[in-house]
């Protein structure tokens, strides 16, 4: 992560400092914070950021938790698009048609179900699915998670997503 922090361009210094801080928020356990970072990095698609975050997370998370955080990004990458279409279309008929998509990992990820739900919420925020954000947030609060904790994860998602765009731009400019 040190190399990643050092590679932030000057114009994105806010993002660098935010990233350093949001990963240390006291509202989140280490597993919640780093799982959110992993899921958010994958959802945000920048290779060097993903490499740095997953590399650091591997030292902080159990293999099962790391795998589950990746799985949250994977499955929500699909569900966010599918269910976002349902609600953006405004046609309620789509909700009555079976999705016919496998999403077994939501049950079989083998990590903490509440943390997994938190990672799904963060990915949904990045992918911009309103109905997914609303429903996963609702499940989290139903399981006793406070708004302070949930929004701490969303801070990570926001900063990771912004940082990914910056690194994409920087690598495009280097090769230009």
């Amino acid at each position: 992560m040190e190399a990643l922090y050092a590679s932030f361009p000057e114009y994105a210094r806010d993002l660098k400092l935010n990233l350093q801080n949001v990963l240390k928020q006291t509202e989140l356990t280490e597993q919640q914070a780093w799982g959110t970072a992993v899921a958010s990095a994958i959802a945000s698609r920048n290779p060097s950021l993903t490499q740095a975050v997953v590399g650091e997370a591997a030292a902080r998370l159990s293999p099962a938790a790391l795998n589950a955080a990746k799985a949250a990004a994977a499955v929500m990458g699909m569900n966010n698009i599918y269910y976002r279409f349902q609600h953006l279309s405004g046609n309620e008929k789509y909700a009555q048609i079976p999705a016919r998509l496998r999403m077994q990992v939501i049950r079989s990820h083998g990590s903490d179900p509440v943390d997994f739900e938190l990672w799904c919420t963060a990915v949904s925020a990045i992918n911009g699915c309103g109905v997914c954000v609303a429903s996963h947030e609702n499940v989290l609060r139903g399981k006793g998670m406070t708004e302070d904790t949930i929004v701490a994860a969303i801070r990570i998602a926001s900063v990771v997503h912004a940082a990914a765009a910056v690194f994409d731009a920087e690598s495009a400019l280097v090769t230009a």
Partner: protein, 176 residues
């Protein structure tokens, strides 16, 4: 005959899992392969004509079942030694990747209700059983008609595409 929604019966049988006589046999029960889906399929008699074709066909798609967390289990009322002899002497069955159950005492087939009243051997029955041990699919062919494993895969896929994401839960539905 047991049907969809019923519990797959408890059983314990010897099974043939290899052509090497030293470790060809093992005991398999309803508790084996915990957490997996199971695909049980029965045939009337070893060393008959239709059987090796469809057994080999199940063998060929075994990896597709494994991808779906499903364990394939073939079986008949022949003994484990007959299975071993058949496996050893039939080129298509040598490397069969799943166990052959030997329901010599007819206990499992009787409990399932698939003993053919005229022939006294297992009917060509197929069961998909979920990880909780509940039968989710049943089919029985006439003794002379082989099965298509692709159709069993299609059904398994359909059974596994439950919408597990809270994104599509309607009001009042239970949570995870």
């Amino acid at each position: 005959m047991l049907g969809v929604g019923q519990k797959f019966p408890a059983f314990s049988v010897l099974a043939t899992i290899s052509t090497d006589p030293k470790n060809a046999f093992t005991t398999i029960t309803d508790q084996s392969y915990e957490g997996k889906w199971k695909v049980y399929f029965f045939w009337p008699k070893d060393f008959t004509f239709v059987c090796p074709t469809e057994i080999a066909a199940f063998g060929k798609v075994n990896a597709d079942f494994a991808d779906r967390d499903a364990q394939v289990l073939g079986g008949s009322t022949d003994s484990e030694f007959v299975h071993l002899a058949w496996r050893t002497h039939h080129a298509d069955l040598k490397d069969l990747p799943f166990p052959m159950l030997a329901d010599l005492k007819h206990e499992l087939c009787n409990a399932l209700g698939i003993i053919d009243p005229n022939a006294g051997v297992a009917q060509r029955a197929t069961f998909i059983v979920d990880p909780q041990g509940v039968i989710r699919f049943v089919s029985v062919n006439d003794l002379s008609v082989g099965r298509n494993p692709q159709e069993v895969l299609r059904v398994l896929d359909a059974l596994q595409t439950d919408e597990l994401c809270p994104c599509n839960w309607q009001k009042g539905e239970a949570t995870l």
